[in-house]
């Protein structure tokens, strides 16, 4: 186990939660046909989803140099 792992695990967990929340909001927004439902889908659901994906990608990128140094030691 390298030093970056707990950190990446926490980030991945948070990104997972954000994506699930985003999907839940998007699902709920389909209940009604209304402009506010559309805005909820676009801004809240889409925002959470995007934040989750970005956090996931950042967590992968930020841990890579540390991991590769460990591998080559």
């Amino acid at each position: 186990m390298n030093a970056g792992e707990p950190h990446i695990h926490r980030r991945l967990r948070v990104s997972g939660v954000l994506i699930i929340l985003g999907l839940a909001v998007e699902l709920l927004s389909l209940i009604r046909i209304h402009p506010l439902a559309f805005m909820g889908f676009l801004l809240v659901g889409g925002g959470l989803l995007a934040a989750g994906v970005v956090l996931y990608l950042i967590s992968l990128v930020s841990v890579a140099p540390a991991a590769s140094r460990e591998d080559f030691r």
Partner: protein, 157 residues
């Protein structure tokens, strides 16, 4: 999939009329008078009833749908934060292109006596120099100011 479904929903008449300010425009689709252009189109199935607003008020150009969605976001802002300016006006004068999307090539339009009364008329209509609506020929549109005085049609269940 959810995004596609949401996009489809934004095209529905129910979606457009869910804002209070649009209710009268929705009622104007049921005016029991065939000279009222939107009502005649709506009641005779010339446009899909579940996409009535979208069919006539979306520009039929490459980015027409995207532009409509952007305008829609502005409408939501006006409805809930900025305030709706009355009377409601179109952003730009109604373009014949939206009429011709369906009517171009239709026999009633191409062979119409008034449209062909002079050779220049058809060319002027097709180039949008002579407006179908503001020229006065089909000027009876959403007359919400007099809606209370007009008889409304009830669609059979």
């Amino acid at each position: 999939m959810g995004a596609a479904e949401q996009m489809r929903r934004t095209e529905q008449t129910e979606f457009c009329l869910s804002c209070h300010v649009m209710e009268a425009y929705g009622r104007s689709l049921r005016v029991d008078d065939s000279t009222y252009l939107p009502a005649a189109h709506f009641q005779n199935g010339r446009i899909p009833r579940d996409q009535a607003c979208y069919t006539c008020h979306t520009d039929y150009v490459l980015y027409g749908t995207a532009l409509s969605k952007m305008r829609g976001l502005r409408h939501v802002y006006a409805q809930y934060i900025g305030g709706v300016q009355t009377p409601i006006r179109l952003y730009t004068p109604y373009n014949n292109r939206e009429c011709l999307h369906c009517h171009a090539g239709a026999r009633s339009f191409e062979e119409g006596a008034v449209h062909n009364a002079d050779p220049s008329i058809m060319a002027a209509i097709k180039s949008n120099e002579l407006s179908c609506v503001s020229s006065g020929c089909h000027a009876n549109v959403h007359d919400i100011a007099h809606l209370g005085e007009l008889k409304l049609w009830e669609a059979p269940k």
